[in-house]
Amino acid sequence: MSEELLYWQALNRALDAELAADASVFTLGEDVGLYGGSYRVTEGLYAKYGEWRVRDTPISEGSFTGLGVGAALAGLRPVVEIMTINFMLLALDSIINGAAKIPFMSGGQFSMPLVVRVPGGVAHQLGAQHSQRLEHTIMNVPGLRIAVPSTPQDAYWQLRQAIVSDEPIILLEHEMLYFSKGQVDVLAEAPPIHRAVVRREGHDLTIVSYSRHAILSQNAADELSKEGIEAEVIDLRSLKPIDWDTCATSVEKTHRVLVVEEDCRFAGAGAEIAATLAERCFDSLDAPVQRLAGLDMSTPFNGVLEAATIPQVPDIVAAARELCRPTQGNKAATKSTPSLKPTSPGQATAGVTQAAPAAPKTAPSETAPVPKAAAAAAGKGAPAPAAKPAAGPAKGQRR
């Protein structure tokens, strides 16, 4: 029995179900109670469960996350909401020095059933301090686990699984997905929380992505199909651990890999994915694993520039097309990196089924400067309809 829900509604259902099922579950964070949550995820729960189980906190990320760690040590199952991942930087001591290490450094005496829910990602012109992704910051920490649901169904499943788990789990929720719709079957059997899923089958290349960009990658695959390129799209669903088997099985079939991520390219999640798949699937690969990622740049406020800092559907299409070009494409791939191409504002979210998030959206001005990012592939004759080769912000990207 499935019904159509928004992503935030699916999270709300999951939290409600776990609060009802287990008296040791509670949630806390800024404005989660009376206000109902910045993205409505905790809506209605304060009235239903009371202030002790749905706790509004002061703006003290470091200590209320630490509160979650302590409560988990005492046997509760806290679900900490940090309003955005940018604020999680203030809570890293509790997460990295505390939650990740206590079960280990106590010699296995304690469980750590802590869930930290963090919205993040580039949304609509929230500025450099509210647009980060930061998954790499926590991916590198032994003892943590990271889930990255991209659909309402996964949001429902993975939040429930995270709450039941005795290990600390960070749930990275993309701010642009809260108002996306999808079918949710609350009775369906969930796959394991860290299992990747093949969203679309194909045989020409494998696109590995996660979170919002897993959806953009599916949209890109639909475009590619019109050109006769059939991309297999893998939604990782989890960044720690990563389901390498699902990826490798696909690569053995397609022989080409494009990793797509929203986060900055340098030392990001994509670097880990590309390196491991290159090691593991070397014999199967017909071309080096390629990465398409956000620019190594703080996110500009200007809407057009902002959109140009992260991969958009046309960028994914172009990178995939380049990767699939016989021989010539391979040479190009070894010499250059598919870089981002500027897109018009209308293309920024092309094909993504989503409504506007709670954050205010300011339409980019028609007269806003349009960046002319250098198209690495353009000089090699790759069709790049949206891009004009020019010196621009992306030039330094390849260094």
Binding site: G62, L73, G107, G108, V164
Partner: protein, 350 residues
């Protein structure tokens, strides 16, 4: 105060002192490596506070916590073995000196980030309050921690929600190597609690009776639902911050003056180090020798023979602990992985 209580306090302090002296010895021999933060000088705080607690109360500590664990009742063998990183240590050799855990005794860990114990204690107290239990959580920290954001954030939330939390500041006057007048705008730490509506008092942390009595009062209020309490114990560490720190930044006369204040030596009328001269003491103000200890001996609670017996007893415990630790096996990499994945049992994983 009852004779039995006084004897328990003195025994715990003697055990703590003897244990730390042995730990320093093993460190010098190379059997203990890494950081080693010793407790001598501060024993009255740990003994007074922890002896006032119920077994159902929780304790969250810092990286200077060997004595806290011993006083709480963790066998000296398991503490010493952990200092040596052995498999038989209380944290399986995974934690070391700064990360002692004993879940059975509700000893919720030593934490090595200054100020980190505060939010963890806050969370445990939240769990107690949410369950409506009559238990208290004791949170140890030093004067260095009171300038961390987590300290203030925690006091605010504890005060706001009236959580069953006893804050215990072991004010040894040094934030690692910086004296309190050089690190705090307000050096009377207990005054800070007023900003968060938390009752607070300052006690002589060299006087175990006063510490014990203050802790009893505070814990009684907490167990009765009176909300958080705060005790500042003014104390002093004999040594540097850790074994790696000779502590030479401290004026010799200051160290001597505090050593003259030593509750143990005063208690048993034995002074193993030189008292400061009258001239030296005049430089640092009035001397405070022997509150507790004068009382103990004068009240007839202690005889010379008992002192010797107690000393021998704790020495034997420490010797046994050291031998046990030295003979214990090293933990394996398999054990390390098992601890790493100790909570991976709920789900089907990849």
């Amino acid at each position: 105060m009852e004779r039995d209580t006084l004897h328990r306090l003195l025994r715990d302090m003697l055990l703590s002192r003897a244990f730390e002296e042995r730990a320093a010895e093993e460190y010098s021999k190379g059997n203990i490596v890494g950081f080693l933060h010793l407790y001598p000088g501060e024993e009255a705080v740990g003994a007074g506070i922890i002896n006032a607690a119920e077994p159902s109360d929780y304790i969250v500590s810092t990286y200077r916590e060997h004595a806290h664990a011993l006083i709480r009742g963790t066998p000296a063998r398991k503490v010493m073995a952990e200092l040596l990183g052995r498999a038989s240590g209380m944290s399986g050799g995974m934690g070391g000196s700064m990360h002692l855990f004993d879940s059975k005794r509700r000893f919720m860990g030593g934490y090595a980030i200054v100020g980190e114990s505060c939010p963890i204690a806050l969370g445990i107290a939240y769990a107690v309050a949410m369950r409506g239990l009559s238990e208290a959580v004791i949170c140890f920290f030093g004067d260095g921690a009171v300038n961390q954001g987590t300290f203030h954030e925690t006091l605010n939330m504890a005060g706001l929600w009236r959580l069953p939390l006893l804050f215990v500041c072991e004010n040894n006057h040094y934030a690692i190597g910086t004296e309190i007048h050089r690190h705090s705008a307000v050096v009377e730490v207990f005054k800070r609690a007023a900003a968060y509506n938390i009752p607070a008092e300052q006690v002589d942390g060299m006087d175990v009776q006063k510490v014990f009595e203050a802790a009893r009062r505070a814990l009684d209020r907490i167990h009765d639902g009176g909300g958080p309490q705060f005790i500042e114990c003014k104390t002093y560490r004999w040594g540097g911050h850790s074994m790696a720190d000779p502590g030479t930044y401290r004026p010799a006369v200051e160290v001597k003056a505090y050593k003259a204040w030593d509750p143990i030596s005063a208690a048993i009328r034995e002074v193993e180090f030189r008292y400061p001269t009258q001239a030296e003491l005049a430089e640092v103000g009035p001397d405070n020798i022997g509150h507790l200890t004068a009382h103990m001996v004068e009240a007839g609670h202690l005889a010379e023979a008992e002192i010797e017996k107690l000393k021998k007893e704790v020495q034997a415990v420490v010797e046994d602990a050291a031998q046990f630790a030295l003979q214990s096996p090293q933990p394996t990499m398999e054990a390390a992985w098992a601890h790493m994945n100790c909570n991976r049992h709920h789900e089907v994983l990849i």
